[in-house]
Symmetry: C2
Subunit: 164 residues, 2 copies
DNA sequence: GCCATATACTGCGAGTACGTAGTATCATCT
DNA sequence: AGATGATACTACGTACTCGCAGTATATGGC
């Protein structure tokens, strides 16, 4: 198993204070480094918070996409989340084996197909969402900037990363 | 091998424009979801850009920490980057087998030790840095907000994630 | 229609991340 | 000093990610 990281994260977060002295000089850092740190912290927190639902942070995010759009293809999903198609393939196989998604033919392209969450998949996502929401609320309230400001910065960054 | 993702990423980024239509409604999203998207894009871009150096984005970040601080312990490093200690252990074993780090006794604690980059490790990091810099520059220039503003938002987020 | 090439996806295998369980050292209490 | 518990790290195994190579369908040129 690799899913339930609750132990680790709880332990780590408890001891955060003690390590406050360990600080990397900012002149050695940059935006992308900051992203790295933030994303590590985010994944640690979410994986721990969602563990009981049986979903990882990645999986929860993908399920979230699938609930808010209907019937994407693997390729669309992969490109959209900047993931290799082979990884999407693995995800889909896993989700399908859980009975959480179904494939339906893609009328526009015989090589492809469309993915949809099943009722069980949606239920799992809802359960995970119940664990997710209080965590999100707490993070947003701990921000010392308005959440929309932070989100604007992230969107700007996302556009910059995809631009080329 | 899992390191050289150049092919994939280049292909994916080239086709970004075509998928501009695939947009997730923002009402279904939130700060943490944004972090997820940004971090996926960041890792994809960096793994591809750094592939020739033999370092992944994660590894480059860790090497960067090790160059700007001297002699951290595995535990400090792990907590600081919100990673499980067992993962740090794997990293360290790998880096050591590459001849990129050395362990020296920790005078304060016999259970622990301190890690330092070797000359070879620093050289590898420098080489990766040469690949990294232009990518960073391009991303910063593509930002439609000042880089410090974006970084402030990320720092705020980081503090909020660790707070508790 | 036929061929060449590009695209959508999958099978497989290699390397990786990390949880469980264990060992060694440290800290605290008595 | 000895015992008890906490902490720093590692060995091992499992599940996972993703690159390579392959198959199937689509597309454009002729």
């Amino acid at each position: 198993m690799m899913r339930s990281r609750s132990n680790f994260v709880k332990r780590e977060f408890e001891s955060t204070e003690r390590d406050a002295g360990v600080v990397i000089p900012p002149e050695g850092t940059n935006v992308l480094f900051d992203v790295w740190l933030v994303s590590r912290a985010t994944f640690a927190l979410l994986d721990a918070s969602l563990a009981a639902s049986g979903l990882t942070a990645d999986e929860f995010a993908i399920y979230s996409v699938l609930t808010s759009t209907d019937a994407m293809t693997p390729g669309e999903l992969a490109r959209w989340m900047s993931a290799p198609l082979t990884s999407m393939s693995s995800y889909i196989k896993r989700f399908e084996s859980r009975g959480h998604i179904t494939r339906t033919a893609n009328p526009d392209d015989g090589r492809s197909y469309r993915i949809q969450l099943t009722a069980a998949g949606r239920a799992t996502h809802r359960a995970a969402g119940k664990l997710f929401q209080p965590v999100l609320d707490r993070v947003e309230q701990s921000l010392d900037q308005p959440a929309p400001t932070v989100r604007d910065a992230l969107h700007s960054l996302h556009r910059a990363l995809l631009a080329d």
